[in-house]
Amino acid sequence: MRHLKLLCVAVFILMPALCPAADEGYGYPVAGPYASTILGTPNQLKAELPAEIPMKRIVLDVIPDIQKPDVFFYDEGLKFTAVFQKQKAPLVFLIPGTGANDRAPRLLPIMKQLYKAGYHVIALPNPTHPNFIISGSQSHVPGDLAEDAADIYAALEKVMKEVKEDIEVSDFSIAGYSLGGTQAAFVAKLDEERKSFNFRRVLMINPAVSLHSSVSQIEALLDKIPGGPRKIRAFFNSIINKFTEFYRIGDFIGINDEFLYAVYKTHLLNQDEAGGLIALAFRISSAGMIFASDVMANGGYIVPKNRVLEKNDPLGDYFQVGVHLSFLQYFDEYFYPYFQKKRPGLTREALIETESLRSIEAYLKSSKKFGVMTNENDFILSRADLDYLRTLFGERTKVYPSGGHLGNLEYKENMAYIVDFFRFVEKQGGTTP
């Protein structure tokens, strides 16, 4: 099991620097949005972070009396990961991206960086993660920004109640990346009414503008694999075979960083293959999300309605169905009908519009506490989405020239920007850093 994580990374490895070198002045080295997203930041260019921080797991029953079927026997409550300063300090809540949990690989560096800079940090799973769907969601149907924000808010109130004896908090802020960034905006809006936290700063890292638009961009990556989205088995097997053969003939002693770098250097995969792998990774997440929601809400979508699943039941067939369904199908066949029932007269277009920053733009425009950091080549944003962010947030928007979707997150300069953002104290006539 030692190489499990590395192999995961390797399986989602890619390639080719087909694009020109990164802009002058910004030193993140990987060109190409998909390569950046899969490879992340080379070790020597990452911000220096402590190897270990005193993280602790907090597991809470945030919603009392949930009936959990036996198949989720391992789910004992909503999981939070927290790291606390010994003295009084500001606190930052963190929300990860689609299908990610409170220990997601992208989340830990942010957590370490903020802890190092003197903050308490508490992270929770994204509302699209099965743990949240099972133990943190009132409806068990994820994807509605307002409802998910209300669930997140309730969970954060609960966890603060739990830890209030242990820590002293000077003020609260919140950050999220990817879908978590978009959700952070809705959580902040809710906070203006409920005022449990009075967030001082809200940072959106590589957020989606519109859920439907971002998901469409990701799903479109599968159109470019041979045979299209219905041929993901052949596609995945061909990638694995390439990768295996490369390992077999090369002079490697194991699946390690050196091997991964070699895969990158030799352009083993082309752009379309790299994009396809990202979309497939997304499908693996969404399969878990769809299954968890369907079982909890007894939706009859991929699991027969009223079926009782036991602890040991083989689930492979549901997995196969789940990875073959696009997120857009989930939207049209499961999500939209669910909300149509709840809100009679709701049109599909109106729902798409609701699941977007546009639905709260007046608030976002007026509030000084927001900041956005994203990349010119983040493929979850269309050109129009990026322009919209620039117009909406003006100088509160920081756009890096490269990095794809979150690939440059751990790069020194990006990490420094995050810390500066939260350090900022609003003075008279102050502006964002």
Binding site: I302, L315, G316, H324
Partner: protein, 257 residues
């Protein structure tokens, strides 16, 4: 003393097995009739088995996977957490290095079985360096001298000899394997036992058996301490399927080098 220790271990294992297997017998009666799902596997029969590894013994394996989760939760991880709490980090590293150094022996003879002489020479060099300069294996200067750790076991040897991997098999405590890697593990353990019996390092020591049992326990704790994987921690409902694929693939890749 040893016998008592072994009995205690056995009792704990049986207890965890019982905890795991209980509940299998009780099947909740389903009172409402099932309604077919909107999407079923039949619809995707032309593109079946994505990210898949064959698993003819799936029921057994799922049981074992869950047993390991329970064993970790109630026994193994609390012990490991206690160990990590009471021992300073440099001691933990020393313990890890020590058992890695003992493990070089396994890599050495398996490299020879596979006629991988370069590996055998590096491994021998590592063993000599770490046993002497590294003070009985507590430190690992060999790696900083450019001699990287190689890993070979009898499961890999069998693979090189052309024996098929066999079905996926989740072992109690040891976790995901194939029949071949599990058999290889047993052979390596047997060889080690034979060597220990021949050398008998605690022959003239009082309570030699107890010391041996203590060393075995420490090795098991160190093994779990090194392994960051936690069963079901991903929270993903298809973790079992994904881990199965990755484990099978990893074992396949291991025999290539």
């Amino acid at each position: 003393m040893t016998r008592i220790f072994r009995r205690k271990c056995l009792a704990l294992i049986i207890l965890s097995l019982a905890v795991t297997l209980a509940g299998c017998a009780t099947t909740t009666a389903n009172l409402r009739p099932e309604v077919p799902a909107m999407h079923t596997i039949a619809e995707f029969s032309d593109d079946y088995d994505v990210i898949h590894a064959p698993d003819p013994w799936e029921r057994f394996n799922r049981n074992m996977y869950r047993f390991n989760y329970n064993f970790d939760k109630y026994i193994f991880l609390p012990v490991v957490t206690g160990y990590e709490f009471i021992t300073p980090t440099f001691v933990q590293t020393g313990v890890t290095n020590f058992f890695s150094n003992v493990g070089e022996f396994r890599t050495l003879y398996n490299s020879l079985f596979q006629a991988k002489f370069n590996k055998a020479i590096v491994t021998l060099g590592r063993f000599v360096t770490n046993t002497t300069i590294g003070i009985g294996g507590l430190f690992d200067p060999a790696t900083s001298f450019g001699m990287e750790r190689q890993r070979e076991d009898f499961g890999q040897t069998l693979g090189v000899w052309g024996i098929g991997a066999g079905p996926y098999l989740v072992l109690p405590i040891l976790g995901p394997n194939t029949v071949r890697s599990a058999g290889g593990f047993a052979v390596d353990a047997g060889i080690r036992m034979a060597v220990m019996t021949a050398i008998d390092p605690f022959e003239n020591v009082d309570n030699g058996d107890a010391i041996e049992a203590g060393i075995f326990a420490l090795e098991a704790i160190d093994m779990r301490h090194r392994e960051k994987f936690r069963y079901y921690d991903s929270g993903h409902p298809f973790e079992y399927e994904i881990v199965r694929f990755i484990s099978a693939k990893r074992l396949e890749l291991d025999t290539m080098k």
